[in-house]
Amino acid sequence: MSKRKRVPREKPYNYVFDAKLPPKLEVKLGEEFEIETDDAASGTIKKPEDSTKLWKTDDFKHTPILLNPINGPVYIEGVEKGDVVVVEIIDIIPADHGWTAKLEGFGQLAYDSRFPKIHERNLVRSIKHSPGPSGTTSDGKAQFPRDDPSKSPIEWNLAPFFGTIALCPDHEVISSLTGPYVANKGGYGGNWDARDVKKGSKIWVSSYNEGGLFFAGDLHASQGDGEWGGVANESPGLGVFKCEVLKDTEIPYARIEKEDSIIQLNNGRPLERVLDEATIWLMQWLINDYGFDEQECYDFIATCPDFRYNVYQTVPPDHYTVGAEIPKRYLLG
């Protein structure tokens, strides 16, 4: 196997999507490449007591705070403004452990006094990752430790994905934590925390610059729907990608193509509005590309029991990420 080019993990980290940053790598269409990423707290969290220190680091003296380092940009030859870049995720390999934490003033229960013990300490919970059949953590297991060490850890299959992937914005420069997000016209990605940005998926995002200028970061080794506490199983790791291009194509927001399904993404607030828009855009996709008539499509969405709304991330004050998903088996006719 030919050696892939790699963007190594090296400081200083980058916390903005900025088209003026020099590319760290140039790749051809279809060429596989690797990006090493650090975790959402830039590697500052290692021990249980590190969570409380996090707020006192210099990274937290900025507006927005410097969380979610992203690595890149990768310049993709042949990509221009007005194209759609299809990013295929070949593999995602988390580190041998991840962490989660209750961060003061952050998450759904930030100032909720109903579970006072949540707020007694700001400690880190370390989650051990073990390799799976592939020999890597790409398909490995997670062990969630209980507070009572006499209880055995809760185990699940790792489900790694990149929380943040994006191309560079047009003329804005936006934080890797709080953006970017554009509705209606194509979205360039951002801190979505969408579990379908995973191995085997193809992510469709709109390009606003020559070379597309691709970034990835914020690997989540596993996450529940909504990312309720505001922090997932955060881990450094490695992503393997390759990109194709759809020339001169306009799509609403962003899309994911999985092996068995297609997903229209959306991001914003409030949730019901974001779901409505995603559904309208999925209808446009089915009508324009899959031969549905308008009324037929409307009825199909309402009656098909396998039409799914995925609520990926609902962390305030950020924008919520959803997907409207239809299995490909209905799209053959």
Binding site: D18, E172, I174, S206, Y208, R273, P317, H319
Partner: protein
């Protein structure tokens, strides 16, 4: 008096753009501002069709809402507050509102399909007793006119390290709020993130109804008379406005109920920290004082734009009163 004339429009708030004017704290100065479509509409024949707006809309976000500035305010540093007092707003001799295809709450409303078509409404502005539009009228048609109530739709300082759109940007540093209380006689407080604060403003609305329902107000060129002061080493939760009779905590967010909640909590912090009220007292008084107001300034659905609300409390309510009965 220094005057910043119309120059190169800024479609982003960017801390790296060199200042075009430097002022001292307290110095009164003039700023000319362009309208929201950079002068595209001059008559009702200048229809804002998708094709015609391409030079502006071919960007993401579109290049609407040009801002004047940046203005360097001496003495302002990162970590300070910039207080901008608006002394006068003179709007141009006409303003324009319009319907842009695909934009606005009823752009796809098949009951009235004409609401989705490009349309321009010009409002003539006639001078008042002062001889200027400062106290003038907006003429909607030969039967309908109302007092001009101009305000600055977009006001902000450069964000710390982001470069935000003049159209869709909003944050602790300012943004496109379309808030009718950013008007003559008001002082606006913004968090500063740079030396000189780097103030940008524009998007004057000569008149606007609550909510800015179509997404476009009575948009006009204007000349502003303003001055700035610096409050050292202070941070506030989002922006605040002081009027003669009241204080207002602003917030912009979606959904509306989140914006209202955040504005009220910010007002409570203000009452507790600067006016010495106990949190419980602030909590209950906001609930029972009939002078408390929630202003819904703007709820335009456009990209990531949040809805702008103000939680307003009368200054008079801070003074002790006893019944004479």
């Amino acid at each position: 008096m220094k005057k910043l004339s119309l120059g190169e429009p800024n479609y982003v708030l960017d801390g790296k753009v060199p200042p075009v004017l430097t002022v001292e704290p307290g110095e009164i100065f003039l700023v000319e501002t362009e309208d929201n479509l950079t002068g595209f509409i001059k008559t009702e024949k200048d229809l804002p069709t998708i094709e015609a707006l391409k030079p502006y809309s071919d960007f993401t976000p579109p290049k609407y809402n040009p801002l004047s500035g940046p203005i360097f305010v001496k003495g302002a540093q990162k970590g300070d507050l910039l207080a901008i007092t608006i002394h006068k707003i003179i709007v141009g001799e006409q303003g324009a509102s319009c319907l842009i295809p695909g934009f606005g709450p009823l752009a796809n409303y098949s009951k009235w399909p004409e609401l989705g078509e490009a349309y321009v409404k010009i409002l003539k502005h006639v001078p008042g007793p002062s001889g200027t539009t400062e106290d003038g009228k907006a003429v909607y048609n030969h039967e309908i006119q109302w007092d001009l109530k101009p305000f600055i739709g977009t006001i902000g300082v450069a964000p710390e390290f982001e470069v935000e759109s003049s159209l869709l940007g909003q944050g602790f540093w300012g943004g496109n709020w379309d808030c009718r209380d950013i008007t003559t006689g008001s002082t606006i407080f913004l968090n500063s993130y740079h030396e000189g604060a780097l103030l940008l403003l524009g998007d004057v609305h000569a008149t606007q109804g609550d909510g800015e329902w179509t997404g476009v107000a009575n948009e006009a060129r204007a000349e502003l008379t303003i001055s700035c002061q610096v409050v050292k080493n202070k941070r506030i939760p989002y922006a605040r406005i002081e009027k003669e009779e009241s204080i207002i905590q602003l917030f912009a967010d979606r959904p509306l109920d989140d914006a209202v909640r955040s504005a009220i909590i910010g007002l409570m912090e203000w009452m507790v920290e600067d006016y010495g009220l106990a949190p419980r007292d602030a909590y209950v008084r906001i609930s029972v004082d009939p002078g408390f107001r929630i202003n819904i300034y703007q709820f335009v659905k456009a990209g990531k734009l949040g809805y702008t609300v103000g939680a307003e409390y009368p200054r008079d309510s801070f003074k002790p009163k006893t019944s004479k009965n």
